[in-house]
């Protein structure tokens, strides 16, 4: 596990690290869920199931456009490496909570995987809604301990000598995985390339699609 505290400096205005925070409305929703569950009026699993029907359909596809631009434009790619927050903001995508972004690039040597907790550490502005599994405690703990087996469950098999680097999001710093550009995509424009970038490929639990599998 790497130490993300070494490479960011956004905690100067906090007395100590409050990674977990609920806005009034986030807390209100939790409150209603608690009341309704205690009264037996809702079943949390049923709520998750309803949310799940939307998770892949809704939310912006902004992240895919960021990745496609990085694949096509070496200058943008460098900028994204150096200052992802600014590079992403230049495309008009900014988070409501002013979170900082860092882009981590997959290479043949290193595959990146992002994890978080049940808190709000997910770059909504770029990736849309988080998948329900991403919020599961099991995903997080297993991804840290045995990322290769977690990837296998997502049908991702990497060469044995590819290192897997696990990044732990915080409320202040969130990660976007830039998957490797698939082969056979030399002639594609950014729009076509963006179709190859799945949500999972930007979390690291998937790879970019081959052109023949484009949605």
């Amino acid at each position: 596990m790497h130490n993300h505290h070494q490479d960011h400096d956004h905690d100067h205005d906090h007395h100590h690290h409050h990674d977990n925070r609920y806005s009034d409305m986030q807390a209100r929703v939790r409150s209603l869920e608690t009341v309704l569950t205690e009264k037996g009026l809702i079943d949390p699993a049923a709520i998750d199931a309803i949310v799940e029907t939307y998770e892949t359909k809704v939310g912006p596809r902004n992240g895919a456009r960021v990745v496609a631009k990085a694949w096509s434009d070496p200058g943008f790619s460098d900028w994204l490496k150096q200052d992802a927050t600014a590079a992403i903001a230049s495309l008009g995508f900014t988070g409501r909570q002013g979170e900082h972004m860092r882009a981590v690039f997959n290479t043949p040597e290193t595959h990146n995987l992002v994890v978080c907790t049940l808190c709000s550490c997910y770059p909504w502005a770029v990736l849309g809604l988080p998948p329900v599994w991403y919020k599961a405690p099991a995903y997080r703990s297993r991804a840290v301990i045995d990322p290769r087996s977690v990837l296998a469950e997502f049908d991702v098999t990497l060469p044995e000598d590819t290192k897997i680097r696990v990044w732990d999001s915080t409320a202040e710093l969130r990660y976007l995985v830039v998957p490797m550009r698939p082969s056979g995509t030399e002639g594609l424009d950014e729009e076509k390339l963006a179709d190859l970038v799945t949500r999972d490929s930007m979390i690291g639990t998937g790879l970019a699609l081959a052109p023949e599998n484009a949605r």
């Binding site: 409150s31 209603l32 309704l36 009026l41 809702i42 949310v51 809704v58 409501r96 907790t117 915080t170």
Partner: protein
């Protein structure tokens, strides 16, 4: 999802007509409402009336950016009217969840029991 709730007035929608959720809690609020409606806790017209009243309150954002705040307020109000709970209980738990979140170290799931002033259940 073919829920009637997807026809709520003002709900942001994608080009395909699906609801669009700016943040996860908005989807959770939507899902809870759908579930309660399906269980018959309130009728469609009761919901539409409650939501509409919130959206048209003075001081609401003209660009609709607080649409889901209205949604959650409407749902809270409706649950009080229906006698499911009362406003003090909702607000008390809201504060409790906020304290619990702050008291939970990064990497651990946020649980209500982590509230240092945890209420007796």
């Amino acid at each position: 999802m073919r829920s009637q709730l997807a026809q709520s007035p003002g709900l942001p929608r994608s080009a395909e007509g699906d609801p669009v959720f700016p943040e996860p809690w908005t989807a959770e609020a939507f899902a809870m409402t759908v579930h309660l409606h399906e269980k018959g806790v309130f009728s469609w017209s009761e919901w539409a009336e409650a939501l509409s009243a919130e959206v048209h309150k003075p001081g609401r954002a003209e660009d609709g950016s607080d649409y889901f705040d209205c949604w959650v307020e409407a749902l809270s109000g409706l649950l009080v009217i229906k006698g499911v709970t009362d406003a003090d209980a909702i607000f008390g738990l809201q504060k409790s969840w906020q304290r619990a979140a702050e008291a939970t170290p990064h990497g651990a799931p946020i649980a209500l029991a982590n509230d240092p002033l945890s209420r007796p259940i």
